[in-house]
């Protein structure tokens, strides 16, 4: 290839393009928007977990001075859901409510005080229905199921798959081990509460700003629910004050704000309270899991059977995908020659769960990595050896038909083991202190879009003006991960320009070509590849034009830093782009990215798990436990991540350190727990996000495996580094105290309970033992790929 960027833009630790604006408080988040005549919306929420709406009287609210509109479920009757298979939500409840916090009615008023008062004046009569609070409740047949007509149970989705001969695998094992784990749900707790602003433009089109990670999906669903054609709607994602998956669904307040704007003809803003954010949720699913694995005497896995019971809450949301994620990625780190995965997701009358950083995979990863640690103990192997014996091979296919390409996992393990002095410390630190190891893998983007189509997942448009400015257009929404900076860096590297020389226009459905959204760690890989393709095409146009103009062979023309090197001449960038515009007319180039088709199998469920590339991580945690209080202190985290290639090491390290923070929060203290169907504390006081005082030092190690398909070899980093931290800490606690807390979070009271069990001659375990009385259907047999038959 004639164009071989080597400008040193990629690989340089550089600030975000908007870093100074952030530090100066200049970024405009959705609640910072204000328009003349803007009204304030407020939403009445259900105080019942499950109830029929018998009647609603909004007259007192509607008559209140300063109220401009009142909406109820009848005003927004179209059902929706992010996945085509889960169209089970309404913007405002129709007929019944399914969780505390379900939106029931909404108002738009002159100011928030009036809106609040109007909400208080709406009188709703409910008929309470039996509440399904737990998975055990949900297994039972109910006269009044949460969705659909009874009597039936509250199962949402089930999966039951057999890859290869699992029983034969267990049969040839020297050792079989079974474990049960529970991973509690938790919330993203992005610092910015969700919000939206809507208005009707001069041309009658609807304009909607939202703190969303998925402007494209929001666009589609607003059109559907409001019954307005997509081309009559413009959606813009504001800079988002933290996402982590919290803002990847479409929420009542977005649809309600849009509808209120249409009804009143005035701009309308709705910003959620923190309590409402906890009810909107879509966070980590609580998962109960059972694992059985067969091992040879030297630790090789012969077969694995994984069962997951997933508490979905009141709605489908991303649930069908979340459920599959609890089983599909186990094979991306270890060679599992035969694998059975059975999972079931239940509806319960609690806030709906969805995707949070790691989407569906941190729970099974926790179980798997702790399970392996215990198997290593059983077999007299050390935790490094048992993992190395089973490592997935680069450029291979897994038993469930996932295509593995670059894989730096072996190096990740070596690097953290060495940096942490793991072998010397394990079993040798003073009592109360210990080290633990775990690994993980994550997708660089989901292989399939949310709705079936054969179009690209990401498209980027470049436009060059006569002043030399290259403008990058992409719908990728920056939720803090740095996607805008990534786009500027990739295009800058390709063209020999500084990121600060470029303009990047993002996340606006009128202005920017498709990007499916900031979820599944897809943006660097997919939007990055689309940007790179566009930049290469643009470079080709410019070099061809310069070569023609200077009558040189195209092989003698290349891009330098800010110049075109043409033979012995150095043509300044601005002069070169003018030659190109003269030659071609308006200078634009487009690029698209669509994952390859051969990365997945063709069984039902095969659409979840495939990715064009997987990132890999290994973590060593060192803990200092107080055996009297049960508090687990984390002394240090070593985390090696196979990033493929670090496009911007400063931002990569930021994602690693941030992942460690979020992971330690959910390992040790964060939980979306309930009293019955009532949230245990929907506030940032009761929901325990670690403060700066809880954060240990982190040694980040970047491993660059240079993925053959990633932009400049890059893979993801936003989610993968979170995965190994929870089990690494749990394994370290075992090294420190000899106990096993088979539950997340490892609360101090659970640590003490396990210690008490140990003192009383037990195995020193705290954790679940029972599984819900649920019979899975017979697994669907799927032939393994040829190389594993």
């Amino acid at each position: 290839m004639r164009i071989d960027p080597h400008h040193g833009v990629v690989g340089r630790a550089a600030p975000r393009t908007d870093a100074l604006a952030q530090a100066a408080g200049g970024l405009v988040y959705v609640d910072d928007l204000s328009y003349p005549g803007m009204l304030h919306g407020s939403i009445l929420r259900s105080p019942h977990a499950h109830a029929r709406i018998v009647s609603m009287d909004v007259s007192a609210a509607a008559e209140l001075d300063g109220v401009h509109a009142v909406l109820t479920g009848a005003d927004l009757p179209v059902a929706y859901g992010l996945l085509p298979v889960a169209q089970d939500e309404h913007a405002l409840a129709v007929d019944k409510v399914r969780q505390v916090g379900d939106a029931v009615a909404a108002v738009a008023a002159d100011d928030p005080d009036i809106a609040q008062r109007a909400i208080e004046l709406i009188d709703v009569v409910y008929e309470p229905l039996p509440v399904i609070a737990t998975m055990d409740d949900a297994v039972e047949v109910a006269d009044e199921p949460i969705h659909g007509d009874g009597p039936r149970d509250n199962r949402h989705r089930e999966v039951s798959l057999d890859f290869g001969d699992v029983e034969a695998g267990f049969g040839r094992a020297d050792h079989l081990r079974e474990d049960v784990f529970f991973y509690q749900g938790n919330n993203h707790a992005a610092l910015e509460p969700h919000g939206a602003v809507a208005l009707v433009e001069d041309d009658g089109r609807l304009r909607l700003w939202s703190a969303t990670q998925v402007p494209h999906y929001l666009h589609r669903i607003v059109a559907k629910v409001l019954e307005v054609p997509e081309h009559r709607i413009r959606v813009t994602a504001n800079p988002t004050g933290g996402g982590f998956g919290a803002k990847t669904d479409v929420f009542a307040h977005e649809l309600v704000a849009a509808k209120l704007a249409l009804v009143t003809g005035r701009p309308v803003k709705i910003v959620l309270t923190r309590e409402e954010v906890f009810y909107a949720h879509r966070g980590r699913h609580p998962v109960l899991m059972w694992i059985k694995t067969g091992f040879t005497a030297d630790g090789e896995i012969t077969a694995m059977w994984f069962k997951t019971y997933v508490d979905g809450g009141a709605y489908g949301s991303y649930g069908p995908a979340s459920l599959l994620y609890t089983g599909q990625l186990q094979t991306t780190t270890y060679r599992i020659p035969a694998y059975r995965f059975q999972g079931v997701r239940f509806f319960t009358n609690k806030p709906a769960c969805g995707p949070k950083r790691g989407h569906g995979t941190p729970q099974p990863r926790f179980g798997l990595e702790v399970h392996l640690d215990r198997a290593a103990d059983d077999l007299g192997l050390d935790p490094v050896t048992i993992r190395e014996r089973n490592l997935v091979r680069p450029f291979s296919t897994t038993v469930n038909h996932l295509r593995i390409t670059s894989c730096g996992l072996a190096e990740c393990i070596d690097r953290v083991v060495e940096a942490s002095d793991f072998h010397a410390k394990r079993r040798n630190l003073p009592s109360g202190r210990g080290v633990g190891l775990a690994v993980g893998a994550y997708m660089s983007g989901a292989g399939l879009p949310i709705y079936f189509n054969d179009m690209p997942q990401s498209e980027v448009l470049l436009k060059v003006d006569r002043g030399g400015l290259v403008t990058v257009y992409s719908m990728a929404a920056d939720c803090g991960q740095g996607s805008t900076t990534m786009l500027a860096t990739v295009v800058g590297e390709a063209l020999g320009l500084e990121p600060s020389d470029l303009a990047v226009i993002t996340a606006d459905t009128d202005l920017t070509p498709i990007d499916l959204g900031s979820y599944s760690s897809r943006v660097t890989f997919m939007a990055g590849n689309a940007a790179l393709e566009a930049a290469m095409r643009l470079a080709d146009l410019i070099l061809t034009a310069v070569a023609d103009e200077l009558e040189l062979d195209t092989d003698d023309v290349t891009l330098g830093r800010g110049v075109v090197v043409a033979g012995d001449r150095r043509v300044p960038w601005v002069e070169a782009v003018r030659m190109a515009e003269a030659r071609w007319g308006l200078l634009t180039a487009a690029g698209s990215y669509k994952p390859p088709k051969d990365i997945r199998g063709d069984y039902k469920g095969a659409g979840v798990g495939p990715s064009p590339a997987y990132s890999y991580s290994a973590c060593v945690a060192q803990v200092d436990c107080d055996p009297e209080t049960g508090f687990v202190g984390v002394d240090k985290i070593w985390l090696a991540h196979d990033i493929g290639r670090a496009i911007n090491p400063l931002l990569v390290r930021g994602q690693i350190e941030g992942s460690v923070h979020m992971a330690l929060g959910e390992t040790l203290m964060e939980e979306q727990a309930f009293r019955g169907a009532l949230h245990d504390g929907p506030s940032l006081l009761d929901y325990k996000i670690p403060t700066a005082l809880e954060m240990p030092p982190v040694e980040s190690i970047l491993v660059e495996s240079i993925d053959p398909e990633g932009p400049f070899g890059a893979k993801e980093v936003g989610q993968g580094p979170l995965l190994p931290v929870m089990p690494a800490v749990a394994n370290a606690v075992h090294d420190a105290l000899g106990i096993r807390v088979d539950e997340v979070p490892l609360r101090p009271d659970k640590v003490l309970a396990a210690l008490r069990d140990l003192e009383r001659g037990g195995e020193g375990r705290f954790g679940p033992t029972e599984l819900p009385p649920y019979e899975f259907r017979r697994p669907l047999p799927v032939d393994p790929p040829p190389e594993l038959r």
């Binding site: 600030p15 530090a23 004046l121 009569v125 803090g480 350190e657 982190v698």
Partner: protein, 171 residues
Amino acid sequence: MVGSRRYDGSTIGRSTLEPVTLHVNGIERRLFVASHRTLLETLREDLGLTGTKHGCELGECGACTVLVDGVPILSCLALTLDADDAEIVTIEGVGSVGNPHPLQRSFADHGAAQCGYCTPAMVLTAKALLDRVPHPSDADITEAIAGNMCRCTGYLPIVRAIAAVAAGEAP
């Protein structure tokens, strides 16, 4: 059947407006505000100083921190009328993109912001610390920002950014 059972007491009724004089970022601002208005609401909605953020409105997250008479406080819990005659500094008073304060420059250079939402409060908290303790230890810095939640960075680059300014490493 049960009817709705909701709080319907003290939000009924409108309040009168009261005069107040604030000194915000060195400028005297005379306003009339409702007596139940918080300083957060006044800064953001009456004065358009939207650099001050909010994450909980209940004094739990630290995102609404501003300096009142040089001291970091939570504007979501402060009544505007209680700030009468006070000197208030918001992030807009610290520096700008064109003329950043060394802390703002250092936050940018160290990747101390990802989503940026906690950043104004962090910068103000750090400024108050360095104004009082020019050469804090990392432990002092960590203690000083322990009331400011950050969900993105794990706090570590924030501590590095503040330490760099204290060490005179920032431009």
